[in-house]
Symmetry: C2
Subunit: 336 residues, 2 copies
């Protein structure tokens, strides 16, 4: 094999938003897969808000990416060479493949996909980790009951759009919070949300009082900051707040903005519970089966926002933090 691999490596720990000098673009020969391993040509790379946490050396649920290491990322690709009995050349797989063109991984560390059921990028979003994140966060922590009001922030993002749709499937009134008129239109008209609040156009508190007049029973938070505080101020009694993410805070150079209205939990006998999807690893099969069924039945709409080119990874990642993407942000690799 004379294949050449290109990678994006972490060159420095970012302060605030990642800048070009925090990355290094490198080239090296593709290595040979060993016993049980496969060589994968990566076709799509997943861009996720959680990546910002992986770049930091703060104590977290997973070890940080080491300086000089290929950036960690989910990806989907095609097996070129297999030394694993369950995988053959031509198979499609997903896994933590890194920001690079080719990956060598153990066959047990990747998951085989059926590309005839859904396009590959869907397996990085709605039928992948973001979808499972929405599924377990909403259903296991939020426990929405029919008729309850569910509010989702970051609602036009990969996790939020799925969380809102699942809440609709469960018979809830669903209000999304997103930035911009087009995202809000999309949520209501294309995804069937009952209402959407454009946080860039006005006061979120006013929108919540209008669209959740009986209070919020389940709040699925992807953003933190002022929007979390606005939601806390509108909780119904016994509300469940799901802390899935806090994208507004990931690039903070000072202290994270804590929710000033957290005492709303006290007066409303409410709870706020955090999780990361890895907490549900032993239930992925259950979630994937149910999500796959909804998707196949047309009950769950997926949307991807696809950029191209490995070298565009640094700029594309920043789109997550400026809120430019609608749906799951994915990088398509154009090597051949």
């Amino acid at each position: 094999m004379d294949l050449v691999n290109h990678q994006i490596r972490l060159a420095a720990r970012p302060v605030g938003l990642p800048k070009p000098s925090d990355w290094e673009y490198t080239e090296e020969p593709v290595s040979e897969p060993g016993d049980g391993e496969v060589l994968i040509k990566i076709l799509y790379i997943s861009l996720d808000p959680a990546m910002r946490g992986w770049m930091s050396d703060a104590r977290s649920y997973i070890a940080p990416v080491v300086i000089g290491e290929t950036m960690r990322a989910g990806g989907a690709g095609e097996v070129l060479v297999s030394n694993h009995p369950d995988l053959a050349p031509g198979d499609h797989v997903t896994g933590l493949l890194g920001v690079q063109e080719y990956a060598v991984a153990h066959g047990n560390a990747v998951t085989k996909l059926d590309a005839s059921l859904a396009p590959l990028p869907v397996y990085l979003g709605t039928l992948g980790m973001p979808g499972l994140t929405a599924y377990f966060g909403l259903l296991d922590i939020g426990r929405p009951a029919e008729g309850e009001t569910v509010v989702v922030s970051g609602a036009a993002g990969a996790v939020g759009m799925v969380a809102g749709q699942i809440a609709k499937l469960k018979g809830c009134r669903v209000v999304g919070i997103a930035g911009g008129a087009e995202k809000c239109r999309y949520l209501v008209e294309d995804l069937g949300f009952d209402a959407a609040i454009d946080y860039k156009a006005g006061d979120v508190s006013v929108g919540l009082r209008e669209h959740a007049p009986k209070g919020i029973d389940v709040y699925f938070d992807n953003v933190g900051g002022e929007i979390l505080d606005a939601a806390l101020a509108c909780l119904a009694r016994h509300a469940r707040v799901i802390i899935c993410g806090a994208i507004s805070q990931y690039n903070a150079t000072g202290a994270v903005q804590g929710p000033s209205n957290y005492l709303s939990l006290l007066v409303n006998n409410a709870s706020m519970t955090g999780f990361v999807i890895f907490d549900y690893a032993d239930r992925y099969a259950e979630g994937s089966r149910e999500m796959g069924g909804w998707f196949a039945a047309g009950k769950l709409v997926s949307r991807e926002d696809i950029a191209e080119g490995l070298e565009n990874f640094p700029d594309t990642l920043l789109r997550l933090f400026s809120g430019e993407n609608t749906g799951k942000l994915v990088l398509k690799l154009t090597t051949d």
Copy 2:
């Protein structure tokens, strides 16, 4: 009856710490009890951090005290006149009797006490609302398992000292956080806590790392602010944080200090749940029975900090916020 009643009424909504001009000392004749009502001579008045919230007109779990109204307070006293079939003169009762010398209340709105089982002030603390608050908050929300580490803030206060003792009864390792060497000594030597951290003497984070080396499984918070943040930074996986109060924030004139470390809930799959004791009204009997049993068996130590004189109510209340009291703060009335 020619009895004269004196009251402390709310004269103005305080900004920050209540000041003398926020109160009015008034005198009026004692009114006659009507059908089903009793006339009570109040012997002890309960002073509670929650009173600060009742003085504010922010939306909460209970209506604020109206300006000009007698200040709301729990109390214990003796029935002088009864028009209720279940109560007779000489009976001891507790209820929301107000900051005054005599109260007229419906017999159904007060609870009869057995003064032979415990002194009256104990019924305002360990065997009253603070004790039930500790009981349901710790056991129902915290769900401590044997061997787990339980940390309690405000640990030498009326609620904290009971929460810590119940955690010990459940076989937990218990660490209290309190202000001052004497309070810390009391917690360890007299109440049997495993360790105590003096927040006035050093960095609470250092103390938590030392005394909760495996992380905090259950954190019972009475104080909010920096101590809550320090505890959040030390959570174990699947930790339960009980938001019972936030005495450090009740007199804030700006925004409440939100917990900057709340994303520790996310990385640790942990929860933070608030409550007020009224949420458990239908289970008071269960809690009282169990607490009464522990008290009678000598397994639960009670302590009261008793001031005297109705006219000293305003100054005594401030002792809660400066953290001067150890145990349940009570005002003894000296009328006769």
